[in-house]
Amino acid sequence: MFYVLSRVPGRSHAVDLGRPTSQETRSPAPELGHETGFGLARPRSWRTRVGRGGMTQRLVERQLAAGAAAADDEPHCLCDLRCTELEWGQDGAVNEDEYATLLRAIRQRTRQSGRSDLDGLLLESRLLDVDSAKEAVIQYLYGLRDDMALGGETVTRESMRRLRRVQTESGGPVEGIVVAIEEQDRAAYGVDEVDLVGSPQLDQAVREIDALIEQLRDEG
């Protein structure tokens, strides 16, 4: 039996590891299992549809291409993006141009934090099937959320929770999860082992992304 698990949800090639056990259903849901990857199917309602008739794929592609070009420009300062004071939802319609501007801003900020790799990955994996700039923003934010969540305490805590019934030979509990850096890799990595302990700052960032996504969904 051979399985490949990837993190894009709701696609036919994501392999479902099975339904949650009743116990897991009772437990606090792991943040990453909610509308994200890990082989758990995405609810149909997850996809956000544009509220005013949608954009053509070509328009989205143009906007994303413009975003890519803008993100490649140096310096990556957001100041020039702050001239827009329009309130979203004017005349009851969300301005797709503003969502495109926001997408570019988020992409630039991602790159400023040294994560050009993540930006490229999210463009490839999250934005291919979007049909509006709003959906592109939300999908990109979900991607950021998943990435940050993997560095947070919540995910490692959940992994350790699953090991709570596993005993060691001495009868004691499992004490932790680390990555042993093999001898041949030590010169390259500069460390002997990596503790997979998470960061509470990233958990907070994940919560703020969730709040922002919710606000954006409520916009028109």
């Binding site: 039996m1 051979f2 399985y3 490949v4 698990l5 990837s6 993190r7 894009v8 090639h13 590891l17 099975g18 056990t21 890990f38 957001l78 702050r82 004071e85 329009l86 309130e87 979203w88 939802g89 503003e98 400023q112 934090s113 994560r115 999210l122 490839e124 994996s125 950021l144 990435d147 940050m148 993997l150 560095g151 995910v155 490692t156 992994s159 350790m160 699953r162 019934r165 596993v166 005993q167 060691t168 030979e169 499992v174 004490e175 999860i177 680390v178 990555v179 042993a180 890799d185 990595y189 990596v194 997979l196 960061s199 700052q201 990233l202 960032a205 703020e208 922002l212 606000q215 916009e219």
Partner: protein, 193 residues
């Protein structure tokens, strides 16, 4: 109250300020690499949880008190702790991470000695017959999982097909050692009976 573009961008900046302030892994270990290992740990523990909860295996960590993932794949190294699965009426199985197996092609070639690079493929998480060490053969593997902390790309499907071909041949459904999870039968041979 509607959100202005300025406010949205400010929120994004606040989020990234927290991201930037989070402690880094240290050394030259990249955050993406670490995230991949966290994902691997997530999948490993999910697998163990299901095997215990659904299949009724007793799961024990042997050889230590810490779970070790590895930075590079290689043979099964008994110096590392690993998980032992036992269940009444069933042979024992071991769960390892980051292990290269000897391919079916290697077996068919009739070669002897350690398999060369072309005759080995990595699996991130694998369940093998109890006591297997070194490079497990394709008949030793009960379950293999490849963890990809990334969006799915077409190349992954091609790679998965290649790895699967080096593990078994397509055959009508054969029973697995599992009662129901993840599957009670697979269209593959060899399989563990």
């Amino acid at each position: 109250m509607s959100l202005t573009l300025d406010e949205a961008i400010a929120k994004v900046n606040e989020i990234f300020a927290k991201y930037d302030s989070a402690p880094s892994t240290g050394g030259l270990v990249g955050e993406e690499w670490k995230a991949g290992k966290v994902y691997e740990a997530w999948v490993l523990t999910l697998l163990l949880d299901r095997l215990e909860q659904v299949e009724g295996f007793d799961v024990k960590l042997v050889g230590g008190t810490m779970v070790y993932l590895k930075s590079s794949p290689g043979p099964i190294n008994p110096k590392y702790p690993h998980f032992r699965l036992t269940r009444a009426g069933s042979p024992p199985y071991d769960v390892w991470t980051d292990v290269e197996f000897a391919t079916m092609s290697y077996h068919i070639s009739g070669s002897s000695g350690l398999p060369g690079q072309a005759h080995r493929h990595e699996l991130d998480v694998l369940v093998v017959k109890g006591g297997v060490a070194g490079y497990p053969g394709h008949t030793d593997i009960v379950l293999g999982v490849e963890c990809k902390n990334t969006g799915f790309k077409k190349g992954m499907a091609r790679a998965a097909l290649g790895v699967r071909r080096e593990l078994s041949l397509l055959r009508p459904g054969k029973p697995t050692p599992f009662i129901s999870w993840p599957r009670s039968s697979v269209p593959a041979d060899p399989r563990l009976s």
